[in-house]
């Protein structure tokens, strides 16, 4: 094995390639830079949307399987607690609860907050827990007072009891957790009414049937199935990602042309070198292998550099370059740290969109250079 001629031949070719690349630093650095840039842009998009996807999935993983909202004249209205009794009777429903939440517009920062009564461990009366972004924007710390205008128009002071950890910052960005009495007093919602009802269904196959039954028993409600939300988000992400890719295809095309040009634009010195190699006994396939190794080395470097840069860009700098497109918009931009996620599928796709076009662009120029006649050096 150590003396395998094929292996030794590859080693010689790689050696020669590295020497050749070093001898033409200028041209190869320019190519490397552009190549790495393309990888950087593509990888950033993929990494970022992957991270967002994960955020959204986390957001939804704690969502209930079925949410039941009451519709009046086609609009979302408060739902009576009495409905819960009927819903609990549906086979497959393991648990049913009422949920209280609502929006509040804060003119001070021109943003919407979500006030929510948590299912467990509510803050004590008069106290609230706020999301990290909200705290940052309003400059709130523990013990500070957040004064909001109640439904009657009076200021309602809340004392900040704590901030929410930003494990999923998208989830908690604008969240204000209150206890039930405060919520009802603040928004003027009497007991016996909830914003919506949530149902826990253990068996995923029964969710649809449960939703159908809800609709039958309570015709003025709208059951929302979590999987449908997941699907919508996924589709939206995919679509956005795909659109960005299509837009980037212009850049990929330009890259292909650039790569082709660089590969074809052999200097006279390079042509002479290839001519000499052919003359002293290298075949066309040897020269092609040489050039293809060159392409491979450049690709590997560009890929690594581009990917690492993208990683830093997305996870270190929050994808500042094009976050808005993929995040959608909200006035409150959470300064969250995206959880780094890499997956093989993504790298595969990236490879397809960067290395493959490059390899394709260089095949013909490489071949053209390699078929130089061995006697060409003598004809000069």
């Amino acid at each position: 094995m150590p003396n395998n001629p094929w292996l030794q031949r590859q080693r010689y070719l790689v050696d020669f390639t590295i020497g050749a690349l070093a001898r033409r630093k200028g041209r190869n650095l320019a190519l490397l830079a552009v190549y790495a840039l393309i990888v950087f842009v593509l990888a950033s998009v993929l990494l970022f949307s992957q991270a967002l996807r994960h955020e959204a999935a986390m957001l939804l993983s704690s969502a209930p399987e079925v949410t039941v909202q009451r519709m009046v004249a086609g609009r979302h209205d408060l739902v009576p607690a009495a409905y819960l009794d009927q819903l609990a009777k549906i086979r497959g429903v393991a648990d049913g609860r009422g949920r209280l939440w609502g929006y509040y517009y804060d003119p001070a920062v021109a943003a919407n907050y979500t006030l929510l009564v948590p299912m467990s461990d509510p803050p004590p009366p008069g106290k609230v827990r706020v999301g990290a972004t909200l705290a940052r924007t309003r400059g709130l710390g523990v013990g500070d007072v957040l004064s909001l205008r109640s439904h009657e128009g009076h200021p309602f002071p809340f004392t900040v009891d704590g901030t929410l950890s930003s494990e999923s910052a998208l989830l908690t960005a604008d969240l204000v957790l209150v206890c039930e009495e405060d919520f009802r007093a603040f928004f003027g919602i009497p007991a016996g009414l909830y914003t919506d009802l949530i149902l826990t269904v253990r068996n995923p196959r029964e969710v649809t049937k449960v939703a159908e039954k809800v609709l039958r028993i309570l015709p003025d409600t709208r059951p929302i199935v979590r999987d449908d939300i997941l699907r919508t988000y996924a589709a939206l992400f995919d679509w956005r990602e795909g659109m960005v890719m299509v837009l980037l295809s212009g850049a990929i095309l330009a890259f292909i042309i650039f790569a082709w040009d660089k590969a074809s634009g052999l200097s006279a010195e390079e042509r002479r070198e290839i001519g000499v190699l052919k003359a002293i006994g290298w075949e066309t396939s040897d020269v092609m292998a040489l050039k293809l190794w060159e392409g491979l080395l450049v690709s590997v470097f560009a890929f690594l550099i581009g990917y690492l840069a993208a990683y830093l860009h997305v996870f270190g700098f929050g994808a500042s370059l094009f976050g808005p497109v993929l995040k959608g918009w909200s006035v409150l931009y959470p300064q969250f740290e995206l959880t780094p996620r890499i997956d093989g599928f993504q790298i595969f796709t990236l490879f397809f969109l960067s290395v493959f076009p490059y390899a394709l662009a260089t095949v013909v120029p490489v071949w053209r250079a390699a078929i130089a006649d061995p006697d060409a050096v003598m004809r000069q």
Binding site: V45, D238, M245, M288, F348, F351, I371
Partner: protein, 336 residues
Amino acid sequence: MVVNPAIVALAIAALVSSLLLAYSAAFGWRLVRTWDLSSGSELQLGLERHTYLISTLVAFVFAIEAMSLLLFVYNADRIAPLFVGAMCAVGTLNTSPFGFPALLVKVLVFFAASTWLILHHLDTRGYDYPLTRLKYGLLLAVAPLIVIEAYLQARFFLALDTDVITSCCGSLFGASREALGSELAGLPPGLAMSLFYGVLGVTLVVGLATRRWPAAGYAYALLSALSFAASLAAIVSFVSLYVYEHPHHHCPFCLLKSEYGYQGYLLYGPLFLGTALGIGSGAVRPFARVPSLSDVVPPLARRLTNVSLGMFFFLVVWVCILTARSGLVLLGNEGV
């Protein structure tokens, strides 16, 4: 329509592969008509130079096809949640009549390309371009396959329709569709097992027999193809069940996922390789009669057969291990 980066990549790859092969086939047509080895004219020299390009392009397309096969399956799995009732790649592929056919043709292209590349390798070992005309003639036959594959894949992607309601009026309309065929029907486990071990057993025996009787090589090639089919049936009918430890989970693609430790690769890798080399070993044997190849064919055929045998043997052993290791009991005695 579903558009995601992987689909964009696959569509581009299919388009490019088709164009490259169309170009190669056109060249092949020209070559078959005007090839004259005894001539030293510039026309002939030009043809010979061109063959380097074409064979590189075909090798390129082959690599793309192999990767696109994987990416296609992975992507189908990834977008499964978008379809009501689809729980993994199988569901996605079932959303239109083009899904499984596209996959099937992709597999066929893979093997056609691998066989062509093996023949090409053999051709280069002869000193007088012994198989060149034949090779390019074959290319004319393979090229349409890629175009068909690109077409089926395109129809499949275009037909993807998620039925997701983006207005807020009730998601039940989506939910009222019937759950898609997310289950693949498999053979009864006992039958599948006998088929698998039986066919592969015969294949291994015949493969070993080729050392003594080279003519058995043709049978070996045929048996390799049959082993491929038997192995696929086995994976669907019982191997998946053992791996997932679930009597109804037949999906052959979930094996490739990280949840199952990527065990699928240890199954599909050797299977595809073993089959490709097995078919290739049979494809080269007829050319032992060609004078410039008489020394080359026997050792090459032997090497191809040996590696192929190794792959199939590994596959059988691995399936046994998976069976023994599994907590699931299908027939009553395994794992004890």
